[in-house]
Symmetry: C2
Subunit: 481 residues, 2 copies
């Protein structure tokens, strides 16, 4: 069952209106990781809730408790649970997305105000959250609006689970999903047949994708403190143990420039691919020039395509993100910082989990710090984490997504594993025990988490059609799990 022409036409005709709504959403700086922006996260929840309700969704804003952040106790942003349709003859699809965003500031190097959606002459919709994840979430709002306005019946029952803490470890969400699942009859997740996650990207800029795997994550903060306050390097240089010296030493022992993770036992958990598995990566529509283009540099870790793709999808990777507390401004400040905190994370793949990897990390860093013979103090913090996930692609859920892609884009999607982490994916799979897929809207060069994040206009509009068509293809498949 292909999507009705009326729906597809509506999307084309209302493109500018949809983009206007995305601009309104981008204008709310809903940065979950910054305590000072928490009110904007609440504001974004209210904005989204109002949109969903106006197009017929019944919603509930679920409080998720409190959070300690930057020494304050803050209320967590609510999860938005939503429901439309209860026809027992229809399949029920659960949609996941998030309405919070990564930090962004013009001083990070944005060409335009990150919280003012800017449309350039190539039709790119530029702004923080445009692609991650306000665009995709509003794609679903577009679909609801189209059906309500046209008086069209939705082909499936829809459930929504939208959160405001995805960029900060999805705090509180796992507990909600588990408790809501346990309610059984009458719960928002009762009767859900499959899950569609709207929060990732194509592998490249040409070929749509359906994603069946995600890396997990474990994120650490290495705190080292010594002096009671920052010191002048002329007056104190050579007289005290300097926290930066210790921290840099520890950070340098985590990863090598070729990407080798140096924490004993971590990389060793993951087996090597056989020749057959390597062929999967060889077959994807992707080449070294794609990564060079999206990274904006000729600095790929290898000239072998499969090696680079496996580096992203199949193997763990460790990134050093930065240091809190050291001098980070311009100029030449001669300071000995008193308290510094290095931040790094490891992307995990099966069978790695935060539970089996974190003890290796902690014991290694503690033992390396002890070797330094420093009088400074080490405190390790595990900031957040999530397990990796790999799904069965032979399921009708994937069949529907592949058919929808062919209908809208006239080409088969790449079946991909993604390098990023959406821990809730695994929670849905484990709690609901149904098939889960990721159906991305944006392209591989969208720059999520980066400066100048964008979503191509065509991806927003055709992506809205894709998500809608996917629902019709789900409905058309007679086998029900």
């Amino acid at each position: 069952m292909s999507a009705p022409t009326a729906f597809l036409d509506f999307v084309d005709k209302n493109a500018d209106k949809f983009i206007g709504r995305l601009a309104d959403a981008v204008a709310i700086p809903s940065i979950s990781g910054d305590a000072s922006r928490r009110n904007d996260v609440y504001k974004m929840a209210a904005f989204l809730d109002e949109q969903l309700r106006s197009y017929g969704l019944e919603t509930k804003l679920v409080e998720l408790g409190d959070q300690e952040i930057e020494g304050q106790t803050l209320k967590l942003p609510p999860a938005i649970l939503g429901s439309i349709g209860t026809d027992p003859k229809k399949k029920t699809v659960l949609i996941y997305g998030h309405y919070d965003v990564q930090p962004a500031d013009i001083s990070d190097g944005w060409d335009t105000d990150p919280f003012k959606l800017t449309i350039d002459d190539k039709g790119r919709l530029i702004g923080r959250g445009s692609s991650d994840d306000k665009g995709p979430v509003l794609g679903w709002v577009n679909i609801l609006e189209a059906h309500k306005t046209l008086g069209l019946e939705l082909p499936v029952n829809l459930r929504f689970c939208l959160e405001g803490m995805e960029e900060s470890g999805s705090e509180g969400l796992d507990e909600l999903i588990e408790s809501e699942t346990k309610k059984g009859k009458g719960s928002y997740f009762d009767g859900v047949d499959c899950v569609c996650i709207s929060d990732n990207y194509w592998l490249n800029t040409r070929t749509p994708a359906v994603t069946y795997g995600l890396r997990g994550l474990t994120y650490f903060k290495i705190n080292i403190h010594g002096p009671g306050r920052d010191l002048h390097s002329g007056v104190f240089g050579g007289t005290v143990h300097e926290p930066m010296t210790d921290l840099i030493k520890i950070m340098s022992r985590l990863v090598d420039p070729d990407g080798t993770i140096l924490i004993p036992g971590v990389r060793e958990m993951v087996g090597e691919p056989d020749e057959e598995e390597k062929l999967i990566y060889e077959g994807l529509d992707y080449n070294i020039s794609d990564i060079e283009e999206s990274a904006g540099s000729k600095t790929a870790i290898s000239s072998d395509k499969a090696t680079v793709l496996m580096g992203r999808m199949r193997f763990p990777s460790l990134s050093l993100h930065g240091i809190e507390g050291a001098f980070h401004g311009v100029g030449a400040k001669t300071v000995i910082p008193a308290k510094v905190a290095g931040k790094f994370s490891i992307r995990l793949v099966p069978p790695q989990t935060p539970e089996n990897v974190n003890p290796l990390i902690i014991s290694y860093i503690e033992s390396e710090f002890a070797k330094l013979n420093s009088k400074n103090t080490l405190v390790l913090e595990d900031l957040h984490g999530g397990k990796p996930w790999v799904e069965n692609t032979k399921h009708w859920n994937y069949e529907a997504a592949i058919k929808a892609t062919k209908a809208v884009y006239k080409q088969a999607p790449d079946l991909t594993r993604e390098g990023g982490s959406i821990p809730v994916t695994l929670t849905f799979a484990e709690s609901l025990k149904v098939n889960v897929l990721l159906l991305p809207m944006g392209r591989g060069d969208d720059g999520a988490h980066s400066t100048n994040e964008k979503l191509d206009r065509s991806n927003f509009i055709e992506g809205t059609k894709l998500l809608g068509t996917y629902l019709y293809e789900v409905a058309a498949i007679t086998s029900k799990a």
Copy 2:
């Protein structure tokens, strides 16, 4: 010749007025290293010039040319040259100080607004620049005001050289001093018999000091860039060479946690002290608890007093100051920074100079970077530097400073070498070929370059008396160089 009682009384009676003037000066955030504050540096120059002129100094604001900073071309802050007295029977003393300050922001961890002078219940005058170097410079203004108001003749001819770029490499000043010196007759420096530098601190919190040595400095920025923009560590981790990984590796190879400098040839330039030299350091009024108190932690590099003092005064030290371009905020941002710049400096001692040390640094870092086999790009920048300096303490200039200290503080000063760098000291010594000394106003725990910088009220007031008395003691000594 001790200072007249009228002068000493005037200082006591006008203490609150003097502190008010210091508050006015601190309120001007004259941060020379921050392009956006350049107007405040000009404003501070105008404020100081107006004060000096109102008490009888003839001044000239000397333009020092342009500076490239943060991609802009800015006018350098002017040097203030000043002159009062031309009596050929009197000695002529040249005073040096600076009116710019280090960066400061409440978010760095200040307990109070750094640019609002706050007086606490211990009589501490807290604010950026209170001790480094607005307090000492205004000490001289206090002396001029006292003499003008009381109708007292100054015992010496005074010349001033005050700059606004000390915290940023004293750009333009060397050229000014050299060209002014070359003018000979009629120049501001004509006939100068000795130099008094007002820009350092006592070794401890009890004993005044006269300083005869300074470490030099060389400050480097290690730029490493790769991707065209910041990347998402989920999408790109494991696929590209990450600039942070390379930078941290390089920075970790500069210095060990015990302070050992790892750049071959740098430490080796400096000879070991013999037993007699060690005794000098054993004799200073200083102990491990002093450094622990001023650092606010029990993290001294050694439990041996002489080792710690030599670490500050007699040996080079390398400090890692921070990283520009990496994630430095709170929270857990999963970014791969595209362009990072690590900053470090080495404090130099004779016979080290930037000229003989920099080639060792550059060749070592380039060779270590080559070993990384990274496709990223390294660019090294030498931000600024200055030679170290050691002076002859048997000169009458030192005799006068020691006598003045005994008169005001009723105790002999520590004769110290200082760990910090005031490159212009050497320029004065080499250009004018006269004796130079440093006569500090503040204490060892003032926290210059740090948060909560302060100057004790007693140091500001007694320090003003000390500087004035020093002039009378210089005048009293009959031998003239």
